[in-house]
Every structure is written in C-alpha cells, then in structure tokens.
Symmetry: C2
Subunit: 147 residues, 2 copies
C-alpha cells in the first residue's frame, strides 16, 4: 500500500556510497548518522541491496561499494530490493465484502485488471529513473552551493 521511507533511505545511502566510498570506508554507523535512521534499519536496507547485487559489503571489517554502473541501477530495482512486495501493497483492497451481494462477491476479481495495469505502469515509470540521473542532479546541486 505504499512506497515507504526505505526506498528514499536506500537512494540516500547509494549516493553516499558513490560519492564517499572511493576515499573512505562507508559504514552503517555513518549512514545512520547521515540519514537519521537507526543502524539496524540501514543494515537491513544494505543487506537487501547486496542480495540484489547492487552493492558489495566487505564482510567483517566493513565498508560498502557499488558493484554496478549507476546507469544500470534504477528505482524499480532499488525499491523492489528493499521492499519486495511494494507493488502488491501499492493499492489497498477491502477484504470483508459480502458474499451475498453480486458486487461484493466479485469485487476482488473486478479490481484485478485495473490494479495490475497501475502496478505495471508504476514499475515501468520507476525503471526509467536511474541512479546515474540522480547522481548527476546531486552533483549539480553541490557544485552550485560551492560558489
């Protein structure tokens, strides 16, 4: 039923990893400070991104790096990594409709097609936004602030 904060936090972390990862070791503690959320949340998000082969985490000693070209990373991948069933939850349905009413009996079936269309369009929209674009926008913003 929603795209939670996890997706925004994931993007935030990916920017940090791309920008700072080359020079410094990026840890979950640092990302927790930067994002303002709990290190455990960060680790669960990082763990999900790792499972999707978006980042690599150096075990034991820590540190995180991107393991794909940012042009190959899009918002659909990020969001479905950190929130696997977000497309299912995107549209909420009432589940206690009356079986005695012909509409109530069939409403779930009737909503299936339009709601799937919305999910497909959403997936398509998100897959067209890449991390590369977001990084470019970040760099534009940063350089304008250094004047």
């Amino acid at each position: 039923m929603q795209i939670s904060k996890r997706c925004s936090v994931a993007i935030h972390c990916l920017i940090c990893i791309h920008e700072f990862g080359d020079l410094n070791k990026v840890t979950s503690k640092q990302l927790a400070l930067s994002t303002g959320c709990n290190p455990v949340i960060i680790r669960s998000i990082m763990s999900a991104l790792k499972k999707s082969d978006i980042i690599a985490i150096k075990p034991g000693t820590g540190g995180t790096t991107l393991c794909k070209n940012p042009q190959k990373i899009n918002l659909l991948q990020i969001c479905s990594s950190v929130e696997p069933d977000f497309l299912e939850k995107l549209v909420g349905e009432h589940t206690c409709a009356s079986k005695l009413c012909p509409v109530g009996r069939n409403i779930h079936l009737i909503l299936k097609k339009p709601y799937q269309k919305i999910r497909d369009d959403m997936a398509n929209s998100m897959s067209n936004i890449t991390l590369a674009e977001i990084l470019k926008d970040y760099q534009t913003v940063i350089s304008s602030q250094q004047d």
Copy 2:
C-alpha cells in the same frame, strides 16, 4: 504513502450505485453491508464523491445516483476525491537526515524531480482507467456466472 482501501471501497460503491440505483434506493447502510465496512466510512467516502460531482445524494430521505457518464469518471478522480493527498503520500521520505552531510542536507531537493515524475506517471495511468471499463468487466463476470 499509499493508495488506501478507501479507493477500492469507492469503486465498489459506484458499481452498486450504477447497477442497483435505478430500481432501488441505495443507502449507506446497504453499502456498508455490501462492502463490509462501517456506515460512517461509507458516508465519508460518499460525501467526498459528492463534493467532486461524481455522485448526487438525495438529502434527508437518502439514496444515491451517479451524476456523470461512467466514461467521464476515472480512477484518478475517484482516488483523489476520497484521499485528497494520495499522490503526495505515494512516496515516503525520511525527514531527519543530517544537515552536516552534503547528501543529507540536499536529499529532499534531489528526490523532488524523480518522485514528481513517478507521481505524474501514476496520475496519468489512473486517469486512463474509467468507471465505464470497470462496469463492463463487472457485467461480463456477472453474465458468465448466470450460465
């Protein structure tokens, strides 16, 4: 952050009103039974649809009718009626990012463009689904069950 059950319930009610409204008076009590949710919720949803000129409610004595051609009613209208800020809430953002980090300081601004694109695409997708299509699907399902 989500498209709540209210939208699904609204569609359910609109189907009932279209199918049964000509012969019978459709009241919030009946819609509550059919949808399985509380009459007060139904009235708040009906009230929202009325404000958007999607339905007309006969005051005092009750009864509800569509006041537009179903081809002119789409999911965007329905959803934004019953949940005015659903597009804003569609994507969640973390709000406690650190001002000390250049990413944290700017993350809200950076996410603005991609998230607005997602909202616009979503709005477009939903505006292409009309109540007329849904009514047609309903009638197909119903007639197949009468064999």
